[in-house]
Every structure is written in C-alpha cells, then in structure tokens.
Symmetry: C2
Subunit: 328 residues, 2 copies
Amino acid sequence: MRKELLEDIGEKELINRLGKFMPNNQASDDCALIKTKNEKLLINNDSLVENVHFNDLTISPQDLGWKAVISNISDLLSSGSYKNIGIIISLILPAKTEWKWVEEVYKGMNKALKKYGGVILGGDCSLGKEKIISITALGIQGELELQRNASKPGEIILTTGIHGLSKLGFMVQSKLNSDNYVSINKRLVKKSIEHFCRPRLCPNFLKNLLKTRSNKTVKRIGCTDSSDGLFQALQDLAIASNCKAIINYEKLPKDKNWPKGDKWDEYYFFGGEDYELVFSLPKNWAMKLIKLDKNINEIGYFSKGEPLIEFKDGKKNKLFKKTPFKHF
Amino acid sequence: MRKELLEDIGEKELINRLGKFMPNNQASDDCALIKTKNEKLLINNDSLVENVHFNDLTISPQDLGWKAVISNISDLLSSGSYKNIGIIISLILPAKTEWKWVEEVYKGMNKALKKYGGVILGGDCSLGKEKIISITALGIQGELELQRNASKPGEIILTTGIHGLSKLGFMVQSKLNSDNYVSINKRLVKKSIEHFCRPRLCPNFLKNLLKTRSNKTVKRIGCTDSSDGLFQALQDLAIASNCKAIINYEKLPKDKNWPKGDKWDEYYFFGGEDYELVFSLPKNWAMKLIKLDKNINEIGYFSKGEPLIEFKDGKKNKLFKKTPFKHF
C-alpha cells in the first residue's frame, strides 16, 4: 500500500484530521479561545527542529510528540504553574511527510497532556524543508513564583533528580560509542533510553514545596529546569540572581552504575534534556523538602561573588572550562 | 567590516539583545507572564517560512516583521479581539543569519504592535536550515464573537476592502510579468507594493459593528480574514456555516485602474495576503455599516444550499473551477 503523504491529503483535510485530537473535535477557526479568571498566566514557547533536536533514527514520532510537550510543560512547572491549560502547536513539515508520522506525534502529545494536564487548543501547519514542532504552552501561576533571578547567597542548591541519562540514551540510540574504555551496565542503558525518549516530570514538586514552607511570606524561589543541561541551569540561576554557585561533586545524585571519568562528568553537566528542576531554598526549608521527597538532592549552595560555578574542593573546576554545547 | 552573524554572537547574547525590544527590557526567563481578569482569551498562531511565504528579494526584514505581526493580529481581529495583549515569537534561523536581519525584523514587529496594540511577551530561538518566524498572538474577546460558523442564509456578504493588490505587489517585487498584454498603471504598482510589504488593518471595524447594531442580543457574526485569498475566505465561511455564497461580480470593490481579464480575476480571488475581513450580516445592519464606513462593501449574500461559491449571473463560475493555491 502506498504511504499517505501530506501532499496527497492537502492542508484543509490535514487540519480536519487533527481536529479529532482536540476536545469536542472542534472545527478549525482563526483563533483558539480560553476562559480566564483573575489570575496570572504563564506562557512558554519551545521548538524542536529536525536534525538539530531530533531525527527519525533516534526517536519514534510518538515519543517525539511526548517529548515536545514535556519540554514545554517542564518550563511551565519550573516557573510555578500549578495547572496547565493547554498548547498551541505550530508544525512545519515537508510535503513528503507521511500522515502516519503526524498522527503518531499528536498521539504522543495527547498522552503527555493526559498525564500532566492540558489539552490541544489549536495550531497551524505550514510547508517547510525540515520538520519543526513549535509549541506554545499556557499554564496558571500558583502561589509560588519560580524565577531564575530569585536565588540568594546562603541558599542550598537542589535538584529533583539524576542528570546525564538522557544524553547517554541519545548516544545509545544514535549508535555512538559513549566511551571506548567502559562497558555500560544493561539496566542503565535501558533506563537511559527511557529518559531520552519518554522523559518524566515531577508533578508533586509545587505541592511539596508548599507543604514544607514554614514562612508563608516567601513567595519567590530561584528555579529553572535542566533542559539545556545542569551546567546551563546553574549558570542561568547564577547570572540572573547575581551570585556564585558552589557545587559539592560528592553529593551529585548519580545512577549506581554511572561510570567514572571526565567523559561521564561531561555527559552529566552538559548533556541536557533531563528536564529535572534545579532550584535553591533557605537551609531549613531545603532539609524539610529533602526529608519529604526522596528524589530531591542537595548539590551545593549559593554564595556572594561573581556569577559563575565552582566545585567545593576546586579539584574538578577544569570541567567548567569546557564550552557547553551551543546550537549557534 | 565583517557582517555580524548569529554564530558569532551565540544564543545567550542573541536573547539578551532581543530583550531590548520587550517592555522593561525584561531578562529572559523560562516563561512570559500576563495578568488576566474574568474574560475570554483569543489565541492565534501563524508561521512564515522562507521561500514558501517570503524571500529576501521581495521583502525587507523590517517589512517582514511588520507583516508577520499583521497576519496574526488580522486573525485576532477577525475573531473579535477588542484588545491585543501581545505576541510570543519563535524564530528558527540558520547560523549564518546576520544579527542585523533579526534586529530589523524585531523593529518591524514593534512598529506594527505600536500601531495596532500589544507587546512582545517572549520567545525562543533555534537553529534551522531555513528562516522561520512563528508567532503566537493573544487578544481579549470583545462583546461580539466573530466565527466562521456563524453566517446564516439571507445574510449580506461584506468585505472591508480591495483584494488582489498584495498579489500584484508580490509579482512586481519578484519581477514576474503579471500580464504580457497589459501595461499597469504606475500608481497601482506603488499601491500594490505597499499592500504587499506593509499591509494595514481596520482597527475601527469592531467599534463600527457595535455602533450600527440595533439588536443587542445578536452576539455571533460569521467572519474570517482573506489572508489565504478571498475565495478561501468565502469557502471557509460557506463550509463552516453550511450555506451557499452568491457573489455579485459587479459589486466587487476594485482599484480604479485594476485591469480586466481572467488573470486579474484570479489574482483578485486567489491572491491572498490582503488581510481584509470577509463577513456577513443581516441586511439592515449591513446597510447601516456600509453607510458609516465607506471602505466596507456588499459583495453578495448567503443562501440555503450546498456549501460552495457561485456568481449571481453564473457567467464567471468557471473561475471557481480553478484549484486555489495549495502549500501542500
């Protein structure tokens, strides 16, 4: 059977078919519509570009749809969204794209939305040379405002989970040899592929933050996500908050089979796409939160000083001389 | 002097520089934030892709920025937005793009926002093979809900202005010969280029609709814009509202120097990018509105029947046998 391509079905029919992924199978109109109350709306945009952020060899279309949603919701969560409203999808696709590919991407998106909240509100589809999924996501700001510029000297730096796994998953999927000298544990390989293809979020994060807060007047917390890598997240916090991040290498949460070596440290700090939260809290609050949520780890603290990152014992500082991965 | 390229300045510096186009020169965070009240929010997305929707030969980057905003605000307006909140910009750009190009695009965007309302709320920039500007625009729904599916048999079909000019402007800018047998009036050429490069909207449209409404219980109006051409706009209304559009060819508003002939009819109906509104009203209301706003013209009516488009005298119906321009 001949594959059904977008050039066969046409733009109007494509939009009709995508309607079934939206609530009430709503017909396309010029705009999507949402009802709001007296609240603050968080809006985020994130794009995935073929051969820059993904390719057909390393990730299935359904996983890609899931991941596109996750990368946006992660930004909403890291800003303090307590409820996700939905997403607007902008697809740029070559005429030779299979309808099946688009359908699978949308299925993956709806699975992620079903798990973490929100619906497909609308979107647009245009012709282009390479596949691009650009999503604008909307959420409602909760009681706590999480921003990059709200960290303070003296605060403990924490993270919601392990870094580097997604990068290892990408290496495995790309059939790239991650380290000539190390044989990698099979369970770790499987876990890494899962982290790369179907990353997960911590939906209880905000609830647990509120549960463990003793001073109700504190509303702002320094926070971002590690979508561009742990190093980038720490640097974004340090620069926006104008303080120095001191990292305790020994305290970094790692998979029990994560190999040792410079290469593995690089994957850990610069890998990206782990979608863990990186944030800072006053010591008292940090300790209560760690006790409540076993996935959260203390990894260092902020001090007064230049907005850069250092290791506590100074030994590993050469790692941060490396230039992190740049797209441009 | 060497041109400054995005690969020279890097992603972080690019985002810093774009900050100056946003209110309060706001630092980048994971999300943009807006305050809402008890209202309905309209959300639209529209993308412009290089060599599909634009190219460097036919339009300057500043005009392109202007046009990208106009195409989104036109959709908000055609849905009944009485106030534009702002836009989220997703840029996909090759590493060899000049910073100057990006700066000019943003200047053009801010000029359009200054004229029609709204600010740049945030955005994202990614590497890609071809230039893409994808905008998500937000507005607040006014008292009238303008939707494609609200037209009714018996209503008068109206439009806010002349069609085909933008297409002619594109032909002139592309140095394509629009008609071998016709010499085109110079004033018309100049006007067409203006319509193509700096399209304008009718910001008083909603005010005038409300002013001329006698039955205050009527809240829904059939409306869309002609960004994809007058034919497509009429077809969208006809299909969504399930009625037949009867067009009076003699009543179509045309530039006084618009040439005659099949080719020119095609430009008129299928050209696109004119951003005029196409809508329908009960006769009484339509007549009052035409009296108040001289730019608005009656061009036909809706009747019961199959959702298609016909000419009143039937003579020109072969025109609609043509397939309108398709991207896929």
